[in-house]
Amino acid sequence: MLDPFQLLNLPRGFDLDDCVLRGALIKASLQWHPDRFALGTEEQRDKAEDHMADLNEAFAMLSSPLQRAETLLALSGFALNEGTDQTSSAAFLMRMMELKEEADDALKSDDVVRIGEMRRRIQEDIAHRVEQLRDSFRAWKAADYCPGTLTPLRALLTEAVYLQRTLDGLQITTMFQS
């Protein structure tokens, strides 16, 4: 698995300042972007394309806090398992189903304002969980990365990922492109 922290030369951890992350990408791009090799050999250009693609992927993995959290778990060998993580409460799943229905209605309404409004609500929900995740990661670290302390963290992350999926499905994109 690609280690985005290593590629961008950043310390591994959930706390990561946006500016620091951007700075890391810029620094690496200045060295590796294919534009820097336009007059180089074909081999150099190919290599630069490959490496820059990895850097771009690394940046994407780290710039979303949720993906960053998932990456951290995966790198430590505790990857979130799609579907089999029985960590979410029944109440949360119920809420998710309601939210999904609401999202479908909003999409059908073609109402940009309503969609935007709903997106904001979900975004706040996610942001709230990201804050909690921050504490959980700290607690995990304080416990010397003891797997036992991971359960609440995984539950939080699973919920946040659900929310994110709903958000991703709730886009004004398709309306404009028919």
Binding site: I26, L30, H33, F37, L39, G40, N56, A60, F176, S178
Partner: protein, 631 residues
């Protein structure tokens, strides 16, 4: 830790090296710029014109004419005068329903791969060939202005709309190939504009580039920091621009003419050309004043039409189009995860942003006035030249990080799309996905590559298909087929598939469904080579013959009027000139031909005047009372 070998950025700039051209290949205008002596500048022609009209005319027996000269032929020869080729490039006929209705030239679909071609009557040409002529004209301009031999101007950076898909990008690359240019990089137009805008700015900024040109609309949001221009999101429409404003006027006028006279003017190619030109003129006038007059006369059809179009009418007609551009802005903001308050600068690019409604709508949407410090016509070309400087090593303090406008994926058996690369991912990008077989012993798998945002594969653009063959027989579901997408820094996709147990592999640059293949380009290049050996004198002779033929045609058409209404001496002179110009096939020297042409044109002058007077009388005759009251 992987050790990164330190290389790159060590190619020193060599000012004596061959310049790299920066070309803005526009729908209506193209420009060429270079980066020299520390700055980018646009190259003008002898008359000081920076804009080269993207029009190519193909005289029946002469070589193609490009630019202003081509525009001048458009009324004479509408079916062989090609404008807006950029709207056709990399497209299929099914994409072109709207434009086809008002284009004066004919489109056909040709060959198994359904390539759109333009039917000139005696032969078919591709949009790539038309664009190649324009690119070659750009290079010729540079040859003259920089006083360098053509072989030293072989390399170029060409801009394309950010929202161009893979097929359109590849077709543009092929056009350059046909023109004998090596494309070092294709850059998105708004990104190039941002580069020209932000190069000297020290402050970090978040900039929106709103680019509404002749045929395409792009909006991009970039973050500028330490000389790095990072595109956060882009959106747009490759079928939206000033052409559509013209068409809106045209369609309304044509409907009214039909109502008044019963004549369907749009069915006549020459009328379409004329109406389009008048519509554009009217539109431009409406950018500067509150109303403009639309005047159209066609004596042979008995049409005399005039109407005052005021800005309110025009606004109503184009409002839906402007709304589409705002939707694009909303989408780009959403994808960038930003709100209008996060934007520090808004830059307008493209001639159509001169329309007051467009300006006002953008300012309102982003809640700030747009910057107008740069010439909206030139900024893209300047950016292309700066990027050429970056690639050539003479601009060291700038770097563009661009994104792909549309998602890329593979069609699944269920008809949906399995996305490998999401829209607005930074490029270059790579992604991998695993697939397997459906039936026992299946030895080949077909992959259909899809670009677009819709859920169902069939609603998106199919970029191409390819088949991985030779998979050793295994039970269904057992083979592990890895498909790898590599999207390069030009935004062009390369695909590789491999069955991992057996190592059977297939690799392809997706050949776009609607584009030329490598072989086709090669054979065209071979033909072009032969043409290039034809000497200049022959070309000039052929041009003159063509022109002569056109004038003769016009004279013959109106000979009745000439005989009835011209005075005797003038008529005699015209008849003589007409006769003298009949048999010129044996004249191979351009000079006497030019003499014959000039004489015929002069002799035909009185006839032209007569025809114009006729227009004037018809005008009054056809005018309705209501029209007269209007004034």
């Amino acid at each position: 830790m992987i050790e990164l070998p330190i290389y790159g950025q060590n190619f020193s700039a060599d000012e004596s090296a061959d310049p790299i051209l920066g070309i803005d290949l526009g729908t209506t205008h193209s420009l060429v710029a270079v980066f020299q002596h520390g700055e980018a500048r646009v190259l003008c022609n002898e008359d000081g014109e920076a804009l080269l009209p993207s029009v190519v005319s193909y005289p029946i027996d002469g070589s193609p004419v490009v630019g202003q000269a081509a525009i001048e032929r458009s009324r004479l020869d509408p079916k062989r005068t090609i404008f807006s080729a950029k709207r056709l490039i990399g497209r299929g006929l099914e994409d072109l329903v709207v434009e086809r209705a008002t284009l004066p030239y004919d489109l056909v679909e040709s060959g198994e791969r359904k390539i759109v071609k333009i039917d000139l009557g005696d032969r078919l040409i591709t949009p790539e060939e038309v664009s190649a002529q324009i690119l070659a004209a750009c290079r010729d301009r540079a040859v003259k202005q920089l006083k360098l031999p053509p072989e030293r101007l072989r390399r170029a950076v060409i801009t394309v709309p950010a929202y161009f898909d893979d097929a359109q990008r590849q077709a543009t690359r092929r056009a350059a190939q046909l023109a004998g240019l090596e494309v070092l990089r294709m850059v998105s137009e708004p990104t190039a504009a941002a580069l020209a805008y932000g190069l000297d700015k020290k402050k970090a900024a978040r900039v929106v580039i709103f680019d509404l040109g002749g045929g395409t609309f792009d909006v991009s949001i970039l973050e500028l920091q330490e000389g790095v221009f990072r595109v956060l999101a882009t959106s747009g429409d490759t079928h939206l621009g000033g052409d559509d404003f013209d068409r809106a006027i045209m369609v309304h006028v044509a409907a009214e003419i039909q109502q008044r006279s019963g004549i369907d003017v749009l069915s006549d190619p020459a009328a379409r050309t004329a109406l389009r030109m008048i519509a554009e003129k009217t539109k431009k006038a409406l950018s500067a004043s509150e109303s403009a007059e639309f005047v159209y006369h066609d004596p042979s059809a008995g049409i005399a039409y005039r109407k005052d179009i005021d800005w309110r009418m025009f606004q109503t007609w184009i409002t839906p189009l402007v709304q589409r551009t705002l939707n694009g802005c909303a989408l780009a903001l959403q994808d960038a995860g930003l709100t209008p308050e996060d934007i520090s600068d808004v830059l307008l690019v493209g001639g159509s942003t001169r329309v007051p409604l467009v300006k006002a709508a953008v300012a309102q949407f982003f809640n700030q006035p747009a910057s107008d410090e740069l010439n909206p016509d030139q900024v893209v070309a300047l950016g292309a030249a700066i990027q050429a400087g970056v690639l050539g090593g003479s601009v060291r303090n700038a770097l563009l990080l661009d994104v792909t406008p549309l998602s890329l994926g593979i069609a699944t058996a269920e008809g949906t799309v399995s996305k490998l690369i999401n829209r607005n991912s930074a490029i270059p990008a790579q992604a991998k996905e695993g697939f397997t077989t459906f039936v026992d012993g299946q030895s080949a798998v077909k992959f259909t590559i899809i670009q677009g945002e819709r859920e169902l594969a069939k609603d998106n653009r199919t970029l191409g298909e390819f088949i991985l063959r030779g998979i050793p027989p295994q039970p269904a579901g057992l083979p592990q087929i890895g498909v790898r997408f590599s999207l390069d820094a030009d935004g062009v996709l390369h695909v590789r598939a491999m069955e991992e147990r057996s190592g059977v592999a297939a690799e392809t640059v997706v050949t776009p469904k609607h584009g030329l293949t490598d072989e086709e380009v090669e054979s065209m290049l071979a033909d072009a080579w032969e043409n290039a050996e034809e000497d200049l004198v022959t070309r000039r002779t052929m041009d003159l013959r063509g022109q002569l033929k056109n004038v003769r045609h016009a004279v013959a058409k109106h000979m009745d009027i000439a005989r009835a209404r011209m005075d005797e001496t003038a008529l005699e002179r015209l008849e003589d000139a007409y006769e003298d110009s009949e048999d010129v096939d044996d004249i191979h020297d351009p000079n006497p031909l030019k003499g014959i042409l000039d004489e015929l044109e002069e002799a035909a002058n009185p006839l032209a005047e007569l025809l114009m007077n006729q227009v004037a009388t018809e005008t009054v005759r056809n005018r309705k009372v209501s029209d007269l009251i209007d004034e």
